[in-house]
């Protein structure tokens, strides 16, 4: 039997005295497309960082294709939150994607090969921003920026792709393009997608994990009102930002402390 892409066993992560994730067990099969939803502060980004080995695990274990995150990190592509990026940094789209081709450790006098550059051109074409190769990142829209970050993650030729809210700060057209791209990529790789886009995600992913520090739900992607309300621990409203969207109306749960 194939090893799961991700195996998470009784995972708990604390930041100081504050619990970010508590006792989470989760398996993600190879070539699965998993959506992760939950309220702000529910531990979604922390879950991705634990899979990447970027945060110290308080208890439990994470395995990527049967090995520790540090050992198999080269198999993982990561698309961080748009809001965390420095959009004014003096760098072009091609240069950003080329950083995905850098080798581990330090590479004195490293020069990108012509194969690296060809790969980057192909990736930019694949994500639909080939015409922006020499554009400064400060001139990109939210959707173009996200596509560039996806191309950078793909430059590592990952088997597992982690995305942290790739459709935040993105217009409806770009959002649909990103979902189509991810569906295409899923033919060859496992995808874990963190999002707040509750309605859209149901039609995109194979399985859904609902995280509010604990794993509240893990199963079929069709969300019932009961699941959503139990996830957020309070009622949610349906509002419109051009498209239907569920958002948190009221969330009074206090942080769990140890």
């Amino acid at each position: 039997m194939n090893k799961p892409a991700v195996h998470i066993e009784n995972l708990s992560v604390y930041y100081g005295q504050t619990s970010a994730i508590a006792d989470v067990c989760l398996d993600v099969a190879d070539r699965e497309y998993l959506g992760v939803i939950g309220p702000n502060g529910g531990g979604k980004s922390t879950l991705l960082k634990a899979i990447l080995g970027l945060v110290p695990v308080t208890s439990g274990a994470v395995r990527i294709y049967g090995e520790s995150p540090m050992r198999n990190r080269s198999l993982v592509g990561y698309v961080p939150q748009f809001a965390a990026m420095d959009k004014l940094f003096p760098i072009t789209v091609t240069e950003v994607v080329l950083t995905g081709c850098l080798k581990p450790g330090l590479s004195p006098l490293f020069r990108f090969s012509s194969k690296n550059k060809r790969d980057v051109s192909r990736l930019l074409e694949q994500v639909g921003i080939a015409g922006l190769a020499n554009r400064r990142i400060s001139d990109l829209s939210g959707g173009e920026f996200q596509k560039m970050l996806i191309a950078r993650a793909l430059a590592r030729k990952p088997r597992l792709l982690l995305l942290d809210e790739p459709t935040a700060s993105v217009d409806a057209v770009s959002r649909n393009q990103i979902y189509s791209l991810l569906a295409e990529l899923n033919k060859n790789m496992t995808i874990i997608l963190v999002t707040h886009d509750l309605l859209a995600i149901s039609s995109q992913v194979h399985r859904l994990a609902c995280l509010n520090r604990h794993l509240v739900y893990h199963g079929e992607p069709q969300l019932t009102e009961h699941v959503v309300n139990s996830l957020y621990g309070c009622p949610v409203d349906l509002i419109a930002h051009g498209v239907p969207h569920r958002v948190l109306k009221e969330h009074k749960e206090e942080g769990v402390t140890r």
Binding site: L52, L54, R73, S74, V76, Y78, P80, A84, M85, D86, F89, P90, I91, E95, V96, T99, G100, L102, K103, P104, G105, L106, S107, P108, L109, F110, R111, F112, R136, S138, R152, R156
Partner: protein, 278 residues
């Protein structure tokens, strides 16, 4: 001034130290500005004052004391900041004031008349000795080699440290290396503009270059060229008007930045109005 330059060794030393200082402040300055490490660099610079005081007290070259204290401050601030257990502003503030306080204490403990510290506080490019110049050259070469050799790693680290870490790039090592390079740059610049004015020469050419180009490599090159223009012009003004060289260099750098900023703002507004009208 050119005739004086050929006659006087101290002027030649001043010119050469200005040129090397410009190279350092251009390259490291751009990184500091992009990585938002300006205040941390200020903390490292001011901690160096303790080393200058210790040098005078124990009878060794004060600039070596500044070097030692700067390196310790860089590593100390970097370690505490990386552990994330304390607000880095607090740590920078404490190192900043502790270094100054130690400098004052060491000078006070010296027997006899205290030395004149103003050339270390405010810089005096005209008092750069041959030994100072050799140290400046060695440190400049180290800074340039480290940045140029690892340029692509630096770029990935500066743009997105988390992603660089995921790639397996040794970001912790780069972080400490950067702080050590900042400490070296501070030592190079102390003789030129002084501890108090170091920040201006680290930020002004880099910030001015940031107004001129959106390419990292070009930004470093422009910052080096601008630094040279500011240092040589400041030195000339200082020589002609018999005023402090550090002050003239810094005032020139800051004035140029603000003037260019104002011109760019006016041009941007004018272009915006043109577009709206059409």
């Amino acid at each position: 001034m050119i005739q004086a330059l050929s006659e006087y060794q101290f002027l030649q030393n001043a010119l050469l130290s200005g040129i090397f200082a410009s190279i350092v402040c251009g390259i490291i300055g751009v990184i500091i500005v992009e990585k938002r490490l300006v205040m941390m660099s200020g903390g490292i610079a001011h901690t160096a004052y303790g080393g200058v005081g210790l040098g005078y007290l124990l009878g060794f070259e004060p600039i070596l004391g500044a070097f030692l204290f700067s390196i310790c401050a860089a590593l100390g601030i970097g370690y505490i900041r990386r552990k994330g257990s304390t607000n880095s502003d607090v740590i920078i503030g404490l190192f900043w004031s502790l270094g100054m306080a130690l400098g004052i204490l060491f000078i006070a403990l010296m027997p006899g008349y205290p030395p004149d510290m103003s050339s270390y506080l405010f810089g005096n490019i005209l008092s750069v000795t041959k030994a100072n110049l050799y140290l400046i050259i060695v440190l400049t070469v180290i800074v340039v080699l480290v940045i140029v050799t690892l340029y692509n790693d630096w770029k990935a680290y500066l743009f997105d440290e988390e992603f660089a870490s995921i790639l397996g790039i040794k970001t912790a090592l780069l972080n400490y290396l950067l702080l050590i390079l900042v400490a070296m740059s501070v030592v190079v610049l102390i003789r030129v503009v002084g501890i108090i004015l170091v920040l201006a020469l680290l930020t002004a050419p880099a910030a001015t270059a940031g107004l001129l180009t959106a390419d990292l490599k070009k930004r470093m090159l422009y910052a080096v060229l601008l630094g040279n223009v500011f240092c040589i012009s400041g030195l000339w003004i200082s020589y002609q008007m018999n005023i402090a060289s550090g002050a003239s260099i810094v005032i020139l750098s800051a004035a140029f930045y603000f003037a260019l900023y104002a011109v760019k703002s006016v041009v941007r507004k004018w272009k915006g109005r043109k577009i709206r009208e059409s």
